[in-house]
């Protein structure tokens, strides 16, 4: 029953093929994957494809509209902001910031959340009670509020925003993994491994964790979308990444005074956030269906 040995017997190639045949049935999921891939490529290639520097100022061209509207110029395809910086270039570099921040958040919250969940579910008893009460406390605070509180204590900034949002995301991982562990730990292959004298850490990492992977991968995708959204919200409130970093949330809040005269400054960064988050959610839904055929009908 161990998915490890199963995978070895059948071969990764076959599994991937099978996964893809399920996954590609879902057109929305494939579209989501496309959105994310584009976003990642843009983020990686930012210096190569952006027409100008992210902080390069063109004092002669303040708040130019995009090239298709009157007064726009093809030199600045999506216009310029109130300081005369190229919007397109800032959006491209913003993808980099969002990707970096999102991935960092997910790495931290997955590591901490999964460890807590494994320990809590495996050992049970007092350990479980203590960890779960701690998780209950974290969950008593609305997500963005908890992030704001953490930031108010450790101060704004990119690293602190990452820490804050990562803390907020921990409970969902812990609860998910714990539920999974409770289900798996009584199964025979775990008992067998125990009989062979495997220690708790070995059992948790080698036997139980692989069986949590499917749900964990899905949660990671959703965690990434939540992380990107929350960081943008913090940036918007002035409590996250600080200017002049080209972050989409900050670009939005900087553009608020010009909402009437230069609406594109507000529209574009938000569209980017929406596209990435939507892509991740579509992809996550598709992953869940493909990895967990029980839920599919």
């Amino acid at each position: 029953m161990n998915s490890n040995s199963e995978a070895q017997n059948i071969g990764m190639g076959y599994l991937l093929k099978e996964f893809w045949s399920h996954f590609s049935e879902n057109k929305g999921a494939v579209f989501g994957l496309g959105l994310i891939t584009t976003f990642i490529i843009i983020a990686i290639l930012a210096p190569l494809i952006s027409p100008h520097g992210a902080s390069e100022v063109f004092p002669g061209s303040l708040r130019l509209p995009p090239f298709w509207s009157e007064g726009g110029s093809t030199e600045f395809l999506l216009g310029t902001d109130d300081l005369g910086r190229d919007v397109l270039s800032r959006l491209i570099y913003g993808a980099r910031v969002s990707l970096f921040v999102g991935v960092s958040i997910v790495i931290i919250s997955t590591l901490v959340g999964t460890t807590l969940g494994l320990v809590s579910g495996y050992f049970g008893g007092k350990v479980d009670s203590v960890i779960m009460r701690f998780i209950d406390i974290l969950m008593a605070y609305p997500s963005i509020l908890l992030a704001i509180i953490v930031v108010s204590v450790i101060g704004p900034g990119m690293t602190n925003a990452i820490i804050a949002v990562a803390i907020v995301n921990i409970p969902s991982f812990t609860r998910l993994v714990r539920a999974n562990v409770l289900e798996v730990k009584e199964r025979q292959f775990v008992q067998a491994s125990k009989t062979f004298g495997a220690g708790p850490i070995r059992i948790m990492v080698k036997e139980i964790l692989p069986n949590c992977m499917a749900t964990l991968i899905v949660q990671t995708t959703l965690g990434l979308s939540e992380g990107i959204l929350s960081t943008a919200a913090l940036g918007f409130l002035g409590l996250g990444v600080q200017p002049p970093t080209p972050e989409w949330g900050i670009m939005l809040s900087d553009a608020r005074p010009y909402i009437e005269s230069s609406p594109w400054l507000v529209t574009l960064p938000g569209l980017c956030i929406l596209a990435v988050v939507l892509g991740l959610n579509l992809f996550g839904d598709g992953l869940r269906d493909a990895l967990d055929p029980k839920l599919k009908r």
Binding site: R133, A140, P142, L145, I149, L252, I259, V266, T267, G270
Partner: protein, 338 residues
């Protein structure tokens, strides 16, 4: 069932203590001297410094501080705001009705649109209608609401000139806050006599955009949940029986299926109340809505620690209570748990 609820109630105690400890330590986790941080330059005066330290109780041992804090908290005393010098409790309850009014409107908006959308999507499963509804709700679910609010302003206020941009009511009207709910206060007989329906209409206009902005994610959640819940029920044997008995399609869906599908939907709606605050923080900031969310953000920018401490404790307690009540209702409507 009683035993289950009692267990659940006992579990709350450590959580509540944990929350009180957390709010208590927020102020003490701030790097540097909290007194100096709060007073800024005024803290250079040793007399003011000492007064502040004493008024915060920071000159006593930490355990004493915690128990004093809790004793005061139980009697509703959370200290005074550093900015307005008024009691935190009073400040909180002055603003709370504004947030609650907006939150209730947002949830009603979500239910009124979300449940029909979910039922229709379920009954028309895998048709273009279903794809359209579920696609739209996934977009709603992914919406950065701080952007969505601004887009609504661009469309409805800037371009169409239909709705105001900020506040709860036009400043030309002077409405006494009797209940704190502007929708009710503006219908107060004395207001009606002096100003007519103007204040009420103005209130509704002010509520529209924030309601949509704040209600969008709940709407998506309700629609998705309703769809999957109805689909689940439609597969049940008793639905087949009802169909076989020759019941009309409409009756099968709305009487037999929908009523049983309601259990998880009610749970989700209950949990949405907890998420009001999250929505409020962003929505109120965008629309200058004078509620709890905007107040907390402003307090954090102003480093008004008694407000942060008290406000956060209130909110956490509220959410725990709501989640507990949702559990109770859930146990009540779903006999299988008992």
């Amino acid at each position: 069932m009683k035993k289950y609820l009692l267990d659940r109630l006992l579990q709350l105690i450590p959580t509540l203590i944990g929350i009180s400890l957390f709010s208590f330590f927020i102020i003490r986790m701030v790097p540097g001297d909290p007194v100096l941080l709060m007073l800024g330059e005024r803290g250079a005066d040793p007399k003011i410094y000492l007064e502040m330290k004493q008024s915060l109780g920071l000159d006593k041992p930490v355990t004493t501080q915690y128990f004093t804090y809790m004793k005061n908290a139980i009697t509703g005393d959370f200290g005074n705001s550093l900015v307005s010098k008024r009691p935190v409790t009073k400040e909180f309850f002055d603003r709370f009705p504004a947030t609650l009014e907006l939150g209730l409107c947002a949830i009603i908006f979500a239910i009124l649109l979300g449940i029909p959308a979910g039922v229709i999507a379920a009954t028309k499963r895998n048709t273009p209608v279903d794809y359209l509804l579920m696609g739209t709700s996934l977009v709603g679910f992914s919406m950065p609401i701080f952007w969505w609010g601004l887009i609504l302003i661009i469309i409805f206020s800037v371009h169409l000139g239909l709705t105001p941009v900020s506040g709860r009511i036009n400043v030309i009207y002077d409405v006494d806050a009797l209940t704190g709910f502007m929708l009710i206060d503006s219908l107060n007989p004395s207001v009606l006599r002096e100003e007519g329906l103007g204040p009420f209409i103005s209130t509704i206009k002010h509520l529209l955009l924030p309601t949509i902005a704040m209600g969008t994610i709940p709407l998506a959640v309700v629609a998705r949940m309703t769809r999957s819940s109805v689909l689940e029920v439609l597969r049940a044997p008793y639905i087949q029986t009802a169909k076989a008995k020759g019941q009309t399609y409409r009756k099968v869906i709305w009487v037999h299926a929908f009523r049983n599908a309601l259990i998880p939907i009610v749970t989700v709606i209950g949990l949405l109340f907890g998420s009001i605050i999250t929505g409020a923080i962003l929505t109120e900031t965008i629309f200058s809505w004078p509620g709890i969310g905007k107040w907390l953000v402003a307090s954090i920018h102003a480093r008004d620690y008694p407000v942060i401490q008290g406000g956060v404790l209130f909110i956490a307690m509220m959410i725990i209570t709501i989640n507990f009540l949702v559990d109770v209702i859930y146990t009540y409507v779903n006999p299988r748990i008992r």
